[in-house]
Amino acid sequence: MMIPACRLADLPRGEAHRLDIDPPVSVFHTDDGELFAIDDTCTHQDASLADGWLEGCEVECPLHASKFDLRTGAVDAPPAKLPVRTHEVVVEDGMIYVRVSTRAPNLPPCVASRLAKGPA
């Protein structure tokens, strides 16, 4: 599934754009000009990684400082223990698209149980 995210011109370097799909996905534009997409929700608790601290190819969770590698989704240190999914990013005619992975996401327990119950 290819989902349009935003125009490349509207996403400055060092910024992230969150797609409000379920579960949400975020596109990061690094200071070096690279684009990456990962699941937006931290695997530890319900925090948005788009709100986090982007440095190089890593984003630090805004709450408890676990860092995720944008290239691989891998997490560096506790409290999060599971990686996030990565997604393919395609730019066409100045528009950023995300091809969402078909793998199962690693959602934190509080979010996973909410999703399992269905929309409130």
Binding site: S48, G52, W53, P62, L63, H64, P78, P79, K81
Partner: protein, 387 residues
Amino acid sequence: MRTVAVVGASLAGLSAARSLRKRGYDGRLVLIGDEPHRPYDRPPLSKEFLTGAVGEADLALERDDEDLAAEWVLGTRATGLERTERAIRLADGSRMRADGVVLATGAAARTLPGSEGLAGVHVLRTLDDARALRDELARGGRLVVIGGGFIGAEVASTAYALGLDVTVVEAAPTPLAGPLGEVMGGIVSALHADHGVRLLCGVGVKGLSGERRVDAVLLEDGRGVPADTVVVGVGARPCVDWLEGSGVELDNGVKCGADGRTSLAGVVAVGDCANWYDPYTGTHRRVEHWTGALERPDAAVATLLAYGATEPGVPRPPYFWSDQYGVKIQFVGHAAGADSVTVEDGATDDRSFLAVYRRAGRPVAVLGMNQPRLFTRWRKQLTAAAP
């Protein structure tokens, strides 16, 4: 370096062990801890663990696939450090020589004198403490929390969510005035009243009453607050008694440089037991926060492996979070030196705002309530502006 011993097997000790391996140390690595448990995460102990939302398995700090090729000596207390051979004495009578030592013994909850042996009185620092408190809170009733600091406030918030009748007693006129300043301390602690939790400020505790089990907290003004359960949340003291006479300089914990070096060569200190030199303030500070215990061991390990011949990097300003009544509280920097605090975004009445502390016009600290995105931006800015 052929043997490194890490004393204290919790967050700071584990982070030091990880950093040793990441930096290429391939010698013998021993982790000594007096708790029987593998390293576990403490913050949930006052939050989701007490409500049952997370279990013991979720507290583990290690990943399932992680192997540090370390020897774990758990359930054994270190009782002394011999300076000449850098040997660690253990409570079981054994002795272990090491080329490098990482001191990571953390802190222990302060207790209330005279409360020993009285059932229903708890402190909260360890998993065993939390298990006991969780079972007690499950019985419901009236909880009195002594101390309106972060741990006390979190326990009050969690117990309120569990349906208990909660009172918080705080000796200072405003809770959290130390870390947050008077104004913001007042705003954050107003969360108690929002939820019908009683907050009694400016009055000390004289003692507890009860025969075998506590039945009331006695205040210095003569009042008594009936209680089925009491939690004493009056801070923690660094676990450094075992280092007396070792030659490691002690002063409110292990006195150490910005790079973790202590007064003994080959010995560094990390985490809650370490009284670091803070280049921001030019003083020593013991920072009892999770993120510091996670991040700073890397600098200490670099010092250890380089035999002290490293320049310490500038640490990020201290950061901590707290969760109370469903509100995310985040703080970075130093409130102590500030001469003004202004709300830059949101409204304090909504419990969703961002406040900036300044000294002579320069931002020195930032407080956020339910503002993770803005908070991160400010935190970045504050870090970039640091000396």
